[in-house]
């Protein structure tokens, strides 16, 4: 079960069992919902942006260990960051999630190296790329975050 252990790293299981920043924020926080219609994963993201900083973020909803731990890891990673930094993290994370497909497409161009250090704990989700169906689970909260930032014009 080598691959499985790569998918379900200890950090992921920890964030799944004890999710960080769980709950919802009252207005004026912005509320965004994300769905993964294939498997029924649901994310409710509460987002408070003040002075171009992600002042607070909370996660509600339910879903598989990958979608929930990814959301938890994301909330911990972006909380307190500037909007620009948060967006950059989204881009780096999504780059990590797409590397598998890029290498499968016998890409002639070398994919840009990913700054795994910038991802910190998030790098634990790297194993997901070996399970293409689960990539959608891992990126759900990140896409929801992007949607929320876009809606706020941040």
């Amino acid at each position: 079960m080598a691959d499985l252990e790569e998918l379900y790293r200890e950090i992921i299981l920890d964030h799944y069992r004890s999710p960080r920043n769980r709950g919802e924020l009252p207005p004026p926080a912005h509320r965004v919902e994300g769905f993964n219609p294939l498997c029924g994963d649901e994310i409710v993201l509460s987002l408070l942006v003040e002075d171009d900083v992600v002042a607070d973020v909370k996660i509600a909803g339910s879903g598989c260990s990958i979608s929930q731990s990814s959301a938890s890891l994301m909330s911990a990673a972006v909380k307190g960051k500037s909007v620009a930094e948060a967006r950059k993290l989204v881009a780096t994370f999504k780059q990590m999630m797409s590397i598998h497909e890029a290498t499968l497409d016998d890409a002639t161009e070398e994919p840009e190296p990913i700054n795994l250090r910038a991802l910190g704990e998030l790098a634990a989700l790297q194993g997901v790329v070996k399970f293409p169906v689960r990539i959608k689970c891992a990126t759900l909260s990140w896409n929801t975050l992007t949607q929320g930032l876009d809606e706020l014009g941040a």
Binding site: M1, D3, L4, L7, Y8, L13, L38, C39, G40, D41, E42, S62, G63, C64, S65, I66, Q68, F131, R134, C137
Partner: protein, 412 residues
């Protein structure tokens, strides 16, 4: 194992079962989503392509006539499998079960329903038997009513008379693809007819696993797909009593479905052809014919007996290994349910369960199974569904139990 089926012999007809997944023998427990085709089906289709292929209802040359004859013979063969000798006039080929329901709603529904009418569905329907009616409702404005599902996973028929009052159609699944509940079709047909309504049945899960008798049960319409019936993808069936088809307007327009076309209009063809615009799925019709012949050769009663015995074994094995840790969402073991086991294990999400099961070669389906209202009714987000077919045996159940034990260890 005392079984009416020689599973070992049957398995030889399914080359896909020889595959290995992650170094393990594949354990295919997802026939509810799509069953595997036996070589009898795939080789009938290949033979057709290699020796007979021609468009139907058009050419006069020998192979074209042969293709037409075989395409039309498929209607008769399928009809016989459904318990009627009138297949030639009553079996319409569609793309799948979903298209059959769309045909029914857009043709029969649009011609017969007004804003004063009602259609009765149930809370346990697949989206295929909900959304087409909702789409039509948006245009026409009739009332949609739903028979509720009780805590015992059965249709709650207590209020049925009131629900059927003034209704023109009761459309109900023969067997739930989530719960495995088998509904009493004959009784429901009698109740619908007693109230002046017709009855349409979603046979997607029942036709491959239970005896079907459209005449004995006195049904009006039946929809199902070939790909859950050990047949090919790309073809489904709308069976309808000939008198209903005769009164239904055409569905899609184009070649094949007309008697005449002038610049100022068209006259639709008679019979089943009115509902089959364009070149139909010819090889697939030959495939579904081979599939029903294959099942008839085994005997659908024997299939049912086998799957019921396997379900009993699975109930016992899961109970023995996990007790309350594993829940089967559906009726308890017995004649009122089919071989569909919607599982949850503690708080472990169905996706994670299915992922761990894949590691030991077990194919199950995680998710809401296209029955969101039903899932909501039971407060479920997703289940991992194991479903049985003619090629499954006790060993398969044992590997399922092994995989679930892995999941319990990993997430527990």
């Amino acid at each position: 194992m005392t079984t009416p089926l020689d599973v070992e012999a049957i398995r030889k007809d399914f080359p896909l079962l020889e595959r290995e997944i992650h170094g393990r023998r594949i354990v295919f427990l997802d026939s509810g989503a799509s069953s595997l085709p036996p070589t009898q089906v795939t080789s009938a289709m290949t033979r057709y392509y290699e020796s007979t292929h021609a468009n139907v209802h058009r050419g006069v040359y020998a192979t074209a006539e042969e293709a037409t004859a075989r395409y039309e013979a498929a209607r008769v063969g399928v009809g016989r499998f459904l318990g009627t000798s009138a297949g030639a006039d009553e079996v319409v080929f569609t793309k799948n079960c979903t298209e059959s329901f769309n045909l029914l709603a857009k043709s029969w529904g649009a011609a017969n329903l007004t804003s004063h009418d009602a259609v009765v569905l149930t809370e346990m329907e697949h989206h295929a038997n909900i959304v087409p009616w909702q789409q039509l409702q948006q245009q026409v404005g009739f009332e949609l009513r739903f028979i509720p599902v009780g805590d015992d996973y059965q249709l709650d028929l207590g209020d049925l008379d009131r629900l059927l009052e003034g209704a023109k159609l009761l459309s109900v699944t023969a067997m739930s693809n989530v719960l495995g509940t088998i509904n009493p079709l004959k009784h429901l047909a009698a109740r619908a007819h007693g109230a002046g309504a017709l009855i349409a049945v979603d046979g997607a899960q029942s036709v491959p696993h239970l005896p079907t008798d459209v005449v004995g049960d006195d049904l009006d319409f039946l929809c199902f797909s070939a790909h859950k019936l050990y047949g090919p993808t790309g073809i489904g069936v709308l069976w309808a009593k000939a008198e209903h088809l005769a009164a239904m307007p055409a569905f899609l327009g184009g070649g094949g479905m007309i008697k005449d076309v002038r610049l100022d209009g068209f006259t639709a063809a008679d019979g089943t052809q009115r509902f089959e615009a364009g070149t139909p799925p010819i090889a697939e019709a030959i495939g579904i014919h081979a599939a029903v012949d294959y099942l008839q050769g085994i005997g659908i009663e024997a299939v049912r007996e086998h799957e019921q015995a396997l379900t009993t074994y699975a109930f016992e094995a899961l109970e023995a290994a996990f007790g309350d840790e594993v829940r089967i969402h559906g009726p308890g073991d017995g004649p009122g349910r089919g071989g569909v086991l919607s599982l949850t294990m503690g708080d472990i999400h169905a996706h994670d369960l299915a992922q761990v099961l894949d590691q030991v070669g077990v194919c199950v389906r995680p998710g809401h199974h296209c029955a969101k209202p039903l899932m909501r009714r039971f407060g479920l987000n997703a289940t991992a569904r194991a479903s049985f077919g003619i090629y499954n045996d006790r060993d398969d159940v044992d590997v399922l139990v092994e995989g679930l034990a892995d999941a319990s260890r990993l997430f527990g």
